[in-house]
């Protein structure tokens, strides 16, 4: 894979996560859900990679596999730490724990991701205690700094999560993720549960923090407008596979995969003068237990031909830094956003 701007911070190679489908009393494995299937990607330091896709496409599983919150089935995840490159999939328990402080996660639901019996102080200080980074007064100082950084009131440290609104809870979650000075953060739909005006505040906060602490984000969302707003590059997932990966501007103006084109067309635009004929995909996302033959997208694709039913398309770099998995990536001329 070509790296244009130095060494990537993170490189994922051929990552797979198969969940067994069990049946009967003896729990015999009858098949696999290929939640993440042969995924290749890289993220440069200080960059945001947006992962977009519909529900069940495997974007959350991908994020969790990269942090090894769930065990990947196969593949390697190379993470650059100072000058060393470590393979996260090969780490033993102890060294995995040690690297955890550099990789953190922000969750979608600010209600269920915070322990309702812990105060803000408890929640934000936990990563500090677990990683032996600070104790006592030093810890409290650090928590106060973090709480200020995310825009919460320092006086509220002793309060419990229920006393906060959704947007404020999400800020607590962000402060917790920042506590151990991570390099890399997986943000899994961090703004989907928030109101529009609060969503904008949270997106601004995430961008400010990125600039300030040189953070690298893997930003997972189903909302293309949010993805365009925050990402440097975009990866589109469909039934466990990445079908397209490109720089954000390039992706939105010149998508190369028919699924990307349909996603862009389906997005309702906030302007009644732009009402237009959309590409309406027939049917729904394929079942990952029993995906179609060849290209998984072919039953819904209007450009599909014989070869799409038989052969799975390869992962090609069609333009510089623009990867796509489609047999006709070079022939089709697809519409981006106007």
């Amino acid at each position: 894979m070509i790296k244009k701007s130095g060494m990537p911070l993170l490189e994922v190679k051929n990552l797979k996560k198969y969940f067994p489908v069990e049946e009967g009393f003896w729990r015999k494995t009858v098949g696999y859900v290929k939640a993440v299937d042969k995924v290749n990607l890289y993220i440069n330091e200080g960059e945001t990679l947006g992962v977009v896709g519909e529900s069940g496409c495997g974007k959350t599983t991908l994020g969790r596999c990269i942090l090894r919150a769930i065990e990947p089935t196969e593949g390697s995840i190379l993470f650059r730490l100072n000058s060393d490159i470590i393979d996260i999939t090969k780490l033993d328990r102890e060294s995995l724990r040690a690297t955890r402080r550099y990789t953190q996660m922000i969750f979608q639901d600010p209600y269920s991701s915070l322990d309702s019996r812990m105060t803000v102080l408890d929640i934000v200080s936990e990563p500090l205690l677990v990683n032996n980074l600070a104790t006592g007064r030093k810890m409290e100082e650090r928590v106060k700094d973090l709480v200020k950084v995310v825009g919460l009131n320092v006086k509220h440290l002793k309060r419990y999560p229920h006393a906060f609104s959704g947007g404020q809870r999400q800020r607590i979650g962000i402060a917790r993720a920042l506590a151990s000075n991570p390099k890399f953060i997986v943000a899994d739909e961090p703004v989907s549960a928030l109101d529009v005006s609060v969503q904008a505040q949270t997106l601004n906060l995430l961008q400010d923090l990125q600039a300030r602490f040189k953070l690298t984000y893997l930003f997972i969302s189903h909302d293309l407008s949010v993805i365009e707003h925050i990402s440097d590059r975009v990866a589109v997932m469909y039934v466990g596979k990445i079908v397209e990966l490109a720089r954000t501007e390039e992706f939105f103006l010149n998508p190369l995969h028919p699924y990307s084109e349909a996603l862009l067309s389906a997005l309702p635009k906030p302007d009644p003068r732009l009402r237009m004929k959309r590409i309406i995909l027939s049917g729904e996302v394929a079942n990952p237990v029993n995906p179609p033959s060849g290209c998984y997208f072919h039953p819904r694709c209007k450009y599909a031909e014989e070869i799409c039913k038989k052969e799975e398309p390869g992962w090609k770099e069609v333009n510089p830094e623009h990867f796509v998995a489609c047999h006709f990536a070079k022939e089709l001329s697809l519409k981006g956003v106007i």
Binding site: S197, L224, A266
Partner: protein, 340 residues
């Protein structure tokens, strides 16, 4: 099946539904929560009215009060909800919420579809039986005719293989199909008003596009009016003729969709439009967020409810009085002291 076209029978100039000075309060231990506070609007025939606002703005309660299904301890305290029905005028706000009259209207004249098609469909009845129940209750039909109509409705909402689907349960259908079944049920009695409360929020974008397209087609075919409730401005722009922007139980702006998006007047509407990321715009710019969060509508201070978050707020004016909703240009109403 021929659906009578109600619109021809009625005078076009009379709106289908008029809501006047509606107040719905929830009496809680902590105080009185004014979920809907002095809301007035009309819905014309064959029109799509969008109600947009953030959580807690009262958009769902407004819709529920039209059907008289406001959950306990909410009460319709004041106001009129006038339904013009074949020359008759019914004030829904005066009807007994458990009475015979409202039950004849609910599910027939006015129907509703919800955000969560999984929780609003019965898990122990087949899709077909649920749709037939509504048909048998409100229309003079035999079992066979009702089943015939149900099949036709399922076909019309784009469910492939209706003969098989009619005998399936809701858990056997995907999210998109369930929402289609809900729409089939809501339209089976040929209502004059359909209330759609965030019907596509739980769906994926590509499925959302399918459902929106379907609703537009069906609206043309059946000629009903729609109240479309959502927080998504993109969806509003896509489907609505008129838009009502609500904030903390009040209507802050009411205008045609084109006016709302191209000539917004209220600072809240302007703020909302600026705070959404727009596709196709240069990425990586800062969003202009509205400061603060929506407060709980309990014991609100005097003055404009948007005062604390407003950029244009003027001390001595905005924190003293509540602005009233006034018509600035024809069909464009706004409640803000900037336009007095």
């Amino acid at each position: 099946m021929d659906f009578e076209n109600k619109t021809i029978l009625n005078n076009k100039n009379i709106p289908l539904l008029q809501v006047k000075n509606l107040k719905v309060y929830f009496y809680l231990e902590e105080g009185i929560l004014k979920a809907v506070d002095d809301v007035s609007f009309d819905i014309g025939r064959k029109k799509v009215l969008g109600i947009v606002g953030e959580s807690g703005c009262g958009k769902s309660v407004t819709a529920q009060s039209i059907l008289r299904i406001v959950p306990h301890p909410g009460k319709t305290v004041e106001g009129e909800i006038l339904l013009h029905q074949n020359g008759n005028l019914v004030d829904l706000a005066k009807l007994d919420p458990f009475g015979r009259e409202i039950r004849a209207i609910r599910g027939k004249e006015i129907t509703m579809i919800f955000q969560e098609p999984m929780t609003s469909l019965s898990p122990i009845h087949t899709i077909g039986n649920q749709i037939m129940e509504a048909v048998l209750l409100h229309r003079d039909m035999s079992q066979t005719e009702a089943r015939e109509l149900t099949l036709e409705m399922l076909y019309k909402v784009g469910i492939s293989n209706p003969h098989q689907r009619i005998d399936e349960y809701s858990y056997q259908l995907s999210g998109g199909l369930r929402q289609r079944a809900m729409i089939a049920m809501a339209l089976s009695c040929n209502p004059s008003l359909l209330i759609a409360d965030e019907p596509t929020t739980a769906l994926d974008v590509t499925v959302q596009a399918q459902i929106l397209e379907l609703m537009k087609e069906l609206q043309k075919e059946f000629g009903m009016s729609i109240i479309y409730i959502t927080h998504n401005l993109g969806v509003i722009a896509e489907i609505c003729d008129e838009v009502l922007v609500m904030y903390l139980g009040k209507v802050v702006e009411h205008a045609s969709a084109d006016e709302i998006f191209h000539n917004p007047l209220h600072p809240y509407t302007i703020g909302l439009l600026k705070s959404i990321p727009k596709v196709g715009k240069k990425a990586r710019t800062r969003l202009e967020a509205i400061k603060g969060t929506v407060p709980l509508p309990l014991d609100l201070p005097r003055g404009c409810r948007f005062y604390q978050r407003c950029r244009e707020a003027k001390e001595g004016i905005c924190d003293v009085d509540n602005p009233s909703l006034i018509e600035v240009t024809k069909g464009h109403r706004v409640s803000c002291f900037l336009y007095k």
